[in-house]
Symmetry: C2
Subunit: 475 residues, 2 copies
């Protein structure tokens, strides 16, 4: 029996060019950019379209482990493994770690390396390409998916297609860095060049052999990180000491540009890396006026606009080639066609302590038990809206600087205060005095929501002492 | 002894062209557009600069009576009279009513008719002009302040300056409607034309005589409205039945364009009607890049921008001639130089039930006792932040569809529930069950703030039965 394909989803990135929607605590892959599922969830859902796929390996970092687990569960797919990277070291060691992990379980494992933040229309052409790449990978090729270019795009790396192999794949001629417009136009006119999608199909065995030969430091780091990995709840934590010895290098530089085994499969399914707002605009299929509008808006005499808003009503008048992206606390306005420049602006915001938080956190934070939205912050009080998933429990905790009032507005809460248990339902409230040891749980079948009013001289998230926790955060 | 000048401040307008900041429930004149005082308050403050001014008459509508009273108090000026218009009938009857009211008290009253929403630099040139106009008014002239034009503006009406009188004033040649650009350029080149500022200096006696002769319906309506007016707390309510017979006509059409007594005083102090965002931009003195920024923002490669934001951080990249105006729930983006078009867009928003509220209400509503900010609205609950001024009391009230939880976060609350009185201080809370008769008061010396969580199937403002009220709203 031929083993199934193991999807390896890279979900640790922190894209900044889709700011203000993409932020460090919930980047691009975890937000709903294309419909009512996150890009990561859409990536998971595509796996359901082929019987060749096994349960996925998700590679991410510790900070995203709960959002990954939650979104996997919500998407209703069988969870494979969540490998946690102890540090950001680019794609070479991330893929090598996944490859060692898979190889330890099946020496014939074939891996489909997938980005978690691309938009792909998973039609028959897509699955045909997967099958062709699978066959080539089993033949010993490290296969890059190359997208047939439809315009002289300067935002992608290119691959020159070399000598044909069987089954539609070809040897790689060479890899070309993001070109200037003249070069990109020449590639398009000339033919024989495809966009490097960052998706690959590889036999773990072949990849590891090439990695050990061409990038031994990366291979050594990955081998150690997997050998010394520790299971932690639903996660596998790669060993930090080993992992951190890996050089910061992409899989393209470390392996694909050097190996004799590199192949490319030119494909023409609908694909976008959604690398910036202009790419989202293109992927969303603009209307007859060239406008894409996600969220409440009124456009008057406006063309080629990319509008996304999470709440505020956007009104645009008399503009062409404009991007307006409005989150609760930040608004970007610029040329739609120049939206790649957002990355540089985010660097500026990050460098200034006054605006740094705008690049890091959304107003809603996700926790393993649910999460909370910051509703109002004032000098000596703040208001949060908490949501707790059915059956989940927060840590047993106390605060030294704040008291809390909880008003249940949906569902049922079980509240323990200094050992005393109360059950509260909608429209009931309870007071948690400063210094009390308390715990909140949702014993019910529906989500619990409550309004929390905190008062005190210091209201930072770090005023918390956890004495017990279902999610390994105590002590 | 010569009587002082009675300022008459027209504060009933509902400008839409400064949307989303200006809204029906708190229009332009009551918001902080130029510094940390509202335009209305700045108008009041200018009165302090001359000993010739008496306490002002403010003409406004019933809906704005509490915000007017609050802002008068905050500005610390002696309150004259607040005349309440029962309906919107344009400026002729508003001014005629104020003139009758003043005439009944002093037959030699001279009135300075002022807009409440203009920006004026009150320097020596301003007060000199006031004195000149005063002298001309006492000589029997109805004096319009004409601003010496500095550019061929098409947003103002013009006045052709006629034969010179004494003291710098001249007879009016003619009034000219807002011209097209060619005409405006010709006026500027030719000279002898000034902008009609909408400010006037008139002897009440002369004005009334002219009004009775030239606009008898207006005069009759105003006479009746004043004769049958009723004092209501700090306000004088003009009689609705009489007032509503007035034709909808401006004082320019009804009187100034017809009377033989019209004079114009050309002046050159710093003045703007702040008629739209481009006018605000000009009045705010753009920086070297042509940008005006009010609120948190980062501008990169951007010129001639008008930015105002009440909260969200605005980031603009690579644009010229752009206006970005961001309130909590709506954002306008358009050309700064074309911002007059906002008025038409607001009409569109108003016509759609889904967006109508965006033109009517701000998230903060002001009440005679203080006010509240809507913090969070959900299906079966909402959260408000209430503020109650020292010594003030809300009505004795009950609700049929909602329960309320109050958490005091600042100051002291006196809460009466079904006759039972409790005093709550910071960090204490209380529950108001559905149907209870309750009352909230601030017995303290500092502002009381509390967080209110409402739960219930219907949460509309109209679910309220008032049985007693300090502000005449019960029954």
């Amino acid at each position: 029996m031929i083993s199934k394909i193991v999807p390896v989803i890279l979900a640790g990135g922190q894209g900044t060019r889709l700011w203000p929607m993409s932020r460090a605590n919930r980047p691009k892959q975890f937000i709903e950019l294309m419909g009512n599922r996150s890009l990561f969830q859409q990536t998971l859902e595509r796996l359901g379209g082929s019987e060749r796929y096994d349960a996925p390996i998700v590679v991410t970092n510790a900070e995203y482990r709960f959002v990954v687990a939650e979104q996997v569960q919500e998407a209703g797919v069988a969870l494979g493994t969540i490998l946690l990277e102890p540090a950001a070291r680019n794609t070479a060691v991330a893929i090598a770690s996944a490859a060692y992990y898979a190889l330890d379980r099946d020496e014939n494992a074939v891996l489909h390396i997938l980005a978690s933040d691309h938009a792909i229309t998973a039609d028959a052409a897509y699955y045909d390409a997967v099958n062709l790449a699978d066959a080539a990978a089993r033949d010993g090729w490290l296969v890059a998916f190359g997208i047939m270019p439809t315009r002289p795009d300067t935002g992608y790396g290119y691959i020159a297609v070399g000598d044909a192999l069987i089954n539609g794949a070809s040897k790689v001629g060479r890899f070309v860095e993001k070109p200037d417009l003249a070069k990109a136009e020449a590639f398009l006119a000339e033919g024989g060049y495809v966009w490097n999608s960052g998706m690959f199909m590889i036999a773990a065995k072949t990849f590891i052999a090439e990695c050990e030969a061409l990038a031994p430091e990366t291979a050594g780091a990955a081998r150690g990180a997997v050998d010394l990995a520790k299971a932690d709840l639903d996660f596998v934590r790669l060993d930090a000491a080993a992992f951190e010895t890996a050089p910061r290098i992409s899989v393209d530089y470390a392996i694909f540009e050097k190996t004799e085994r590199a192949a490319v499969l030119p494909v023409s399914f609908d694909w976008s890396d959604l690398g910036s707002w202009d790419a989202v605009w293109a992927a969303q299929h603009p209307d007859a006026s060239g406008n894409v509008v996600l969220g409440p808006a009124l456009l008057s005499n406006t063309t080629n606009a990319m509008v996304m808003t999470t709440g505020a009503h956007v009104v645009i008048d008399g503009l062409d080639d404009i991007a307006v992206i409005a989150s609760e606390d930040a608004i970007f306005v610029g040329r739609q066609s120049q939206a790649q420049r957002v990355g540089a602006l985010v660097k500026q915001l990050k460098a200034d302590p006054a605006t740094r938080a705008l690049t890091e956190t959304h107003q809603t934070s996700y926790r393993p038990w649910g999460g909370y939205t910051s509703v109002l912050m004032a000098d000596r009080f703040q208001v949060k809206r908490l949501f707790v998933k059915p059956g989940k429990k927060l840590s047993l905790q106390k605060h030294y600087h704040r008291s809390e009032h909880w008003v249940v507005v949906k569902g049922t809460a079980e509240v323990t205060i200094d050992g005393q248990v109360s059950v509260l339902t909608e429209n009931q409230s309870i007071y948690l005095p400063l210094g009390c040891t308390h715990r909140l749980a949702n014993p019910g079948k529906i989500q619990l929501e409550l309004i929390e009013v905190q008062t005190g001289a210091y209201l930072g998230e770090d005023d918390i002492v956890r004495t017990e926790d279902d999610f390994g955060r105590a002590g």
